[in-house]
Amino acid sequence: MSFLAPEPMLESNFFVLEPDLEAVTAALAGMELLHLEDVAPEGWATSGEWTDLAHRYSALTERLAGMIQELQARAPQRKPSPESTPDSPLRPSPDWRDIEARTAMIETRVHAWRKRLEQVDVEAEKLKLGEAQVQLLVPLDVRLEDLRRLEYQTVTVGIMPAENVGRVAEALFQIPFILIPLETRKGRTLVLAACSTDHAAILDRALKSAFFESSSVPPEAFGKPEEALAALRSKAREIEQRRREIEDERAKLAYELSEDLARLWRRADACGKIAEAIRRFPKHGEVFLISGWVPASDIEKVRKTVQAAAGHPVAIEVLKADPSRQSVPSLVRAPRWLAPFEELVTTFWLASYNELDPTLIVTISFLIMYGMMFGDIGHGLMLLLVGLWLRRRRLDFGVLVAAAGASGMLFGLLYGSAFGQPVISARWLRPLEGMWTILLTAVAGGVVLLNIGFAMNLINAWRARDWPRFFLEKNGIAGIALYWALLGGGVGVAFGILPKSVLLLIPVLCTVLWFREPLAAAFWQRHAPPLGEALVTGFFELFEAVTGYASNSLSFIRLGAFAVAHEGLSGLVVSYSKGPWGWLVLLAGTFLVVGFEGVIVGIQALRLEYYEFFGRFFQGRGQPFIPLSLHTGGRHASMAVRT
């Protein structure tokens, strides 16, 4: 049952000689069993060279990814798979030149192709501008050749940054001019500017200093504007055809280069990861210190692999974790089937190193609570199908939805209900008929869950050797005793099962909880505030604890209430689905119940888990175990390893 608690961790320090550094780091990254810690012993410092190399690899990876994207070649695999691991040993520092050179070679081809594409685009753009320019001249009904031979006027057309149009107009304050902005696209404006030939130099300087790019009327445009337009459009079609041909080359290039690109990307990415890790290792003389956490069960494997990877002996220091002064990462080796349910816990927080992982209990209790509130064979089946469909789309969340649907079906069987109709006899009860029974069962279930929470708190406190929490807190021995004195004692005395003297325990236990802090200080030398302050805060905490016991237990009544509401609402949908449009009402109503209520019920179940159940024992604040890895995110960057 190793998945109920995080794996024991060992603090491991590897003292590695510089020549072995890359091999050892690569071996460690390949194993994915070391969670790195940044340490800075006195006299040790990190190396700037590796920072530089890490940045270079990062840039290189981006260049490669950019080309892959541009060619729409196979995308770099973010998710690790066995074939995505580079096959030959990784040595980031000597490998750099080779990867860079091969990248540059591929880049040359890709750039050459891109340049051709860009040239065609520029030509097309110029042609388009020319077309727009000629279009303007259509009303003039003059031949373009004549316009080119203007003697007293200078006319120019081109594009410029849109924000500079106004500035140019200001700059031309000394001369009479015409400036017509024609159209603006992507922040650049097509402009027609004219002035007398005498002032042509001024206009030219003003336009140039406003980053104007002239686009003269294309030489192939001649004759009257309409004739020129037809010629330009024919030319545009030609260019479009050329563009298509170049686009086709993209696929050819992608076919030729995609394998190399993907291989180079994987290698650069993995080398980058190693360089990025080494960048963080402190160095003293020729020795680098790799420090981090290794699961205790894997330490021998790690030790052997490191020694085998290094050419020289590696000094390895292994220390027991001390969670009271260190932040130890949590690694829970959960079975694969439990993985889709992990998010029920991690959405709240990750279990800390000393805590039990509540995923299994949360999964079971969540499904029971969900089914109880959503009990209907038909609605559950719909949810199950939705969940399976989501799973087919590779969404882990689908498994949770399907399981919730299955639980709904199971409770539907117990309630004898399908799509709000009593189609079969109830194996247990019908919520609307056995309202009190279901409400009391819900509270009883809540009491059981809260007590599981109490028990887990005792185990967590024991593991952390936190004795005040174990004995004196509201979820410790004293608190549990008070809870049962209030609940069991109250019920027992009311039914005459227990003597009234049992109730005397209540003030005694209240006093223990009230004096919690002074008692902790007396028995375990814990820091305590001044007595007056401790008693005031202790009193309010006691008040909150007592009311909390009652409200937390009663909170579970909603399980029964929602079960009743679900049946009522489903029945309502059925009762309104008479007449010619009845099928529509039934369809819409059913979707509303499944969609809307399905979500609300999920939220309610989560609320009970997070507020009532977790509040008893779960502190969270765990640090995820993120091993040094050659892959982005690592094979098990989460807190859990699938087994």
Binding site: R167, V168, A206, S209, F211
Partner: protein, 331 residues
């Protein structure tokens, strides 16, 4: 309300003011025998090498910290103001690529900006200016550079690219300042507005005197909205207005007999001193507004500028009083 929103930043600045060099530290620096001694003293005071990029990186980091405490409207102005270091770095990168400087050497000259999203090492690895622009895609700097690229390629000079960056940066800064509430805008104008106006004035004269530019070029390469030195001022300068007259409008008296080049340098120092006095005066009262923040940032800039003048002066063998004449700090 302003006191509330600026209380955190006020506390932060008050705590940081003590880190500025005090009178005795300046006396020691001016009396230092060599540039190496100046460097050692600065390193001792600030914990970073007395190199311009390192010191400017320190200002960028301080500003970045202060920005987090500012209310949203003024946060945008100060955050954009802080981008002047990115602009400086971009110009350094462009120069490195244009003159084919070794990437590592060029990297040493860059200001270390911790929160910058620009990948400087990647830019320095680029083979051409157009590759730099390509790698800047996604940042706000790509478009202004792209606009000036053709001019750069035709002229073979970096000037169009540099001025495009400057204009883009200052135009946006002015726009952000204009969008502030009236009170905030007044505070921002007192330092930043005045400083931008003076710079626009100096640009116009430099383009006319050193660049021999024509009026239309001067107008295109300067800011049209720059508070006291807007389009009208630029036009007058472009048409030949004497420096003494335009400087007079700003309250600066140019001694007769100076050449325009000498007068330009003089005005720069006078303007610096005026802003320094304003900043000191602003810091003697509570800092519950944007003016206080800008005054502090301006003092940081001025301190770095003076330290560099001091170090260079010592390296050139100038005497203490000679160096002090070139510095902004007067006491």
């Amino acid at each position: 309300l302003s006191a509330l929103t600026y209380s955190a930043v006020q506390g932060n600045i008050r705590a940081r003011l003590a880190r500025l060099l005090d009178r005795s530290a300046w006396t020691r620096l001016i009396e230092a025998g060599t540039a190496a001694e100046v460097s050692a003293l600065i390193e001792q005071e600030h914990g970073v090498a007395a190199r311009l990029p390192a010191l400017q990186g320190r200002i960028a980091a301080s500003t970045h910290t202060l920005v987090r405490f500012l209310p949203r409207s003024s946060r945008e102005v100060v955050a954009w103001y802080n981008r002047r270091f990115e602009i400086e770095n971009l110009k350094a990168v462009l120069r490195a690529i244009h003159y084919q400087v070794d990437a590592r050497r060029a990297g040493d000259a860059l200001i270390p900006i911790e929160d910058s999203s620009v990948r400087w090492a990647d830019l320095l690895d680029a083979q051409s200016i157009s590759a730099v622009i390509e790698r800047l895609r996604g940042s706000p700097y790509a478009r202004p550079l792209e606009n000036a690229l053709e001019r750069y390629q035709q002229d073979g000079r970096l000037f169009p690219l540099e001025i495009a960056l400057d204009l883009f940066y200052f135009q946006k800064l002015v726009r952000l300042m204009e969008s502030l509430s009236p009170n905030e805008a007044a505070g921002a104008r007192r330092f930043l507005g005045r400083s931008i106006a003076i710079q626009n004035l100096l640009w116009a004269y430099r383009f006319r005197i050193y660049g021999q530019m024509t009026p239309e070029q001067i107008i295109n390469y300067t800011l049209h909205r720059a508070f006291e030195a807007g389009l009208d001022t630029v036009r007058r300068i472009a048409l030949g207005a004497p420096l003494a007259v335009e400087a007079g409008r700003f309250g600066f008296k140019v001694p007769s007999g100076l050449s325009e080049v000498e007068a330009l340098t003089g005005i720069e120092i006078l303007a610096g001193r005026e802003l320094w006095r304003r900043a000191i005066a602003a810091l003697t009262r509570p800092l519950f507004d944007l003016a206080g923040v800008l005054a502090y940032l301006w003092l940081l800039d001025a301190e770095v500028r003076d330290v560099m003048i001091l170090a260079e002066g010592k390296a050139m063998g100038l005497s203490g009083p000679e160096i002090a004449r070139r510095m902004v700090r007067t006491a």
